[in-house]
């Protein structure tokens, strides 16, 4: 099975994040592998391992689109266990919205299928931890005419059929489709593994293909701000929440809480 896992280079949410520049884009210094993509990578590795791993012809390809620093998340994915990596990078991609990003990723996945071994499964996290729109899985599936099975909290591939469970607020459902398909997974699906010493050494020998727009046959006008269908017109930092009144319970904090709620007209 040939699996492509999308891995994104995102600003670390543990620190303050900033929107900068004329395009109001997120500052990507101090970026890391989007935490939610680790679940997709783990799911891919498990599927490949169940089928005999690389020896049996399975492939797990970590794909990241992003500026030069994004290659680090491909490297990290290789250390965790991805078999090979792809880094799509081009100055013209800067400022791409979800529509433009999905166009470039779709072209990359077609390019990766052009060696005669088509991609069977595209795996993604449920959302990036920066944009958080969850648009890419749906838009990529639409562009590639693939069925999407999103927010999977479990995943199985039996023969050519992929089966996933998803939990919505009011119900849970089982969904299925024929391969090739696109699946996005939640943080409920597995426990991602960490890179170990052996993995870090092995990663040094693994291949990372660097692709540009010319390689995937995309015109620069179709991506970046030129190819985006939305613009962010303004961005203003919200004043951080400041702490209010803090009291220590002296046996009557419950009453004081109700006094507070009454004063705020919340009762």
């Amino acid at each position: 099975m040939k699996i492509v896992v999308l891995v994104k280079h995102v600003p670390d949410a543990q620190f303050d994040r900033h929107i900068t520049g004329p395009g109001n884009t997120t500052d990507r210094d101090e970026s890391i592998l989007s935490e939610l993509d680790e679940y997709a990578l783990e799911a891919a590795l498990q599927l490949a391992e169940e089928r005999g791993g690389a020896k049996a012809g399975n492939e797990v390809i970590a794909l990241s689109m992003g500026p030069s620093g994004a290659v680090n998340v491909v490297k990290k994915s290789l250390q965790i266990g991805a078999y090979s990596g792809v880094h799509l990078s081009d100055d013209a991609l800067a400022g791409s919205d979800a529509a433009a990003t999905s166009l470039a990723l779709a072209a990359t996945i077609r390019h990766l299928s052009a060696d005669g071994r088509p991609v069977d499964l595209v795996l993604t996290g449920m959302a990036s931890t920066d944009g958080e729109t969850s648009l890419i899985p749906a838009q990529l599936a639409e562009r590639l005419s693939l069925p999407q099975l999103t927010f999977a909290s479990s995943l199985e591939v039996n023969g050519g059929t992929v089966v996933a469970r998803r939990d919505a607020g009011s119900h849970s459902e089982t969904v299925e489709a024929q391969l090739p398909a696109l699946v996005s997974v939640t943080d409920q699906i597995n426990e991602p593994r960490y890179p170990n010493f052996k993995g870090i050494l092995a990663a040094k020998k693994k291949k990372i293909a660097s692709l540009s727009l010319a390689d995937i046959g995309v015109d620069p006008s179709e991506v970046g701000q030129a190819g985006s269908w939305t613009v962010v017109e303004s961005a203003a930092a919200r004043p951080p929440r400041t702490a209010g009144t803090i009291i220590t319970d002296e046996g009557d904090a419950g009453i004081k809480l109700v006094d507070f709620l009454a004063a705020q007209k919340l009762l």
Partner: protein, 317 residues
């Protein structure tokens, strides 16, 4: 010709508050049409009329619910063509966002998610990076697609009620060709409490409840609130995963969020820090949740919460 098209999936016997909010917002953009999926009752049609809806579209196919997202996006694309709408509004649920995403590609239309307000010229307001920035964004395409958060406007009927016309929309034959099929669906038992994402008040518990959500449920019921949880509590199996508030759970923005026995990790804050008023109850004065609380109590939730519940009941008589 409509200016705005609102998608309402399976309205049931009465429209949800979030649907009424979409209709209220859509009127700002001009004449409104609605595309529904599922049964249309007389009551729902009358409410749509009261909210100024001129036309109600219904799909020619009745199996859209059998497929994940793609078939509904195909229907909605056809409804946009039939209505001539230049703005599409859907709810901001995970499914709503995905329908918006696929629809955007079908229509070559810009999609803006997590919208908390729309101006008459189509400028959308949203908050990003876990609530740390307020932004405005606009689609540069002839059609704009918005997925709109719940709880952002007060539902308001239109000045004059009309009897909306109904029209069928031909769902493209290949709408479900590349869709995943839903092979089974289990509906979870309803709690009788308000829906978490729409509730005016949320009472949330974390690892500190130590397996017992009882006191929080009683407080929630005294306040008419929904019950939420941290991931530590849902992972422990003390409450269903659908109660999880946060980055990988539900995002809430209620008038009041009461956090009890939750430390306030970044992923938890991401889901609740746009709440109007935050109350935190935690034993540990160092917990990061106190950095964002409007009213913080350093104390044992098993003492504070039942006392507050009793006091509320007393005052409400």
């Amino acid at each position: 010709m409509a200016n705005a098209l609102v998608f309402i999936d399976n309205p049931g016997a009465a429209l949800k508050k979030s649907s009424l909010e979409l209709l209220t917002l859509a009127r700002k953009l001009g004449e409104t049409a609605v595309a529904i999926n599922g049964e249309l009752t007389d009551d729902v049609a009358a409410t749509l009329g009261a909210y100024g809806v001129a036309t109600i579209f219904q799909p020619s196919a009745d199996d859209l619910d059998d497929y994940l997202v793609a078939a509904k996006a195909g229907y909605l694309a056809a409804a946009v063509a039939a209505s001539g709408a230049t703005a599409v509004l859907v709810e901001n649920s995970p499914e709503g966002k995905e329908i918006a995403g696929r629809l955007g590609i079908k229509l070559n239309a810009g999609v803006i998610t997590d919208v908390v307000g729309v101006d008459a010229d189509g400028t959308a307001h949203k908050s990003v990076l876990a609530g740390s920035y307020n932004t405005t964004a606009k689609a540069t395409t002839p059609v704009s697609v918005f997925s709109v958060k719940a709880n952002i406007v007060e539902p308001e009927p239109a000045g004059a009620a009309a009897a909306p016309a109904t029209a069928k929309v031909e769902v493209p034959a290949d709408a479900a060709a590349n869709a995943a099929r839903i092979s089974s669906r289990t509906v979870k038992p309803a709690s009788g409490r308000p829906d978490l994402s729409e509730a005016r008040i949320v009472v949330a518990g974390g690892r500190g409840v130590d397996g017992d959500f009882g006191p929080l449920e009683e407080l929630a019921d005294a306040l008419g609130a929904a019950v939420g949880a941290s991931r530590a509590a849902t992972d422990a199996g003390w409450i269903g995963h659908d109660a999880q508030v946060g980055q990988t759970g539900v995002t809430v923005s209620p008038q009041l969020y009461i956090s009890a026995g939750i430390s306030g990790a970044i992923q938890q804050k991401a889901g609740m820090q746009t709440s109007k008023v935050i109350v935190a109850i935690n034993k540990d004065a160092e917990s990061p949740v106190f950095e964002i609380a409007d009213f913080g109590i350093i104390g044992d939730l098993f003492k504070v919460v039942p006392q507050a519940t009793a006091e509320i009941k007393k005052r409400k008589g």
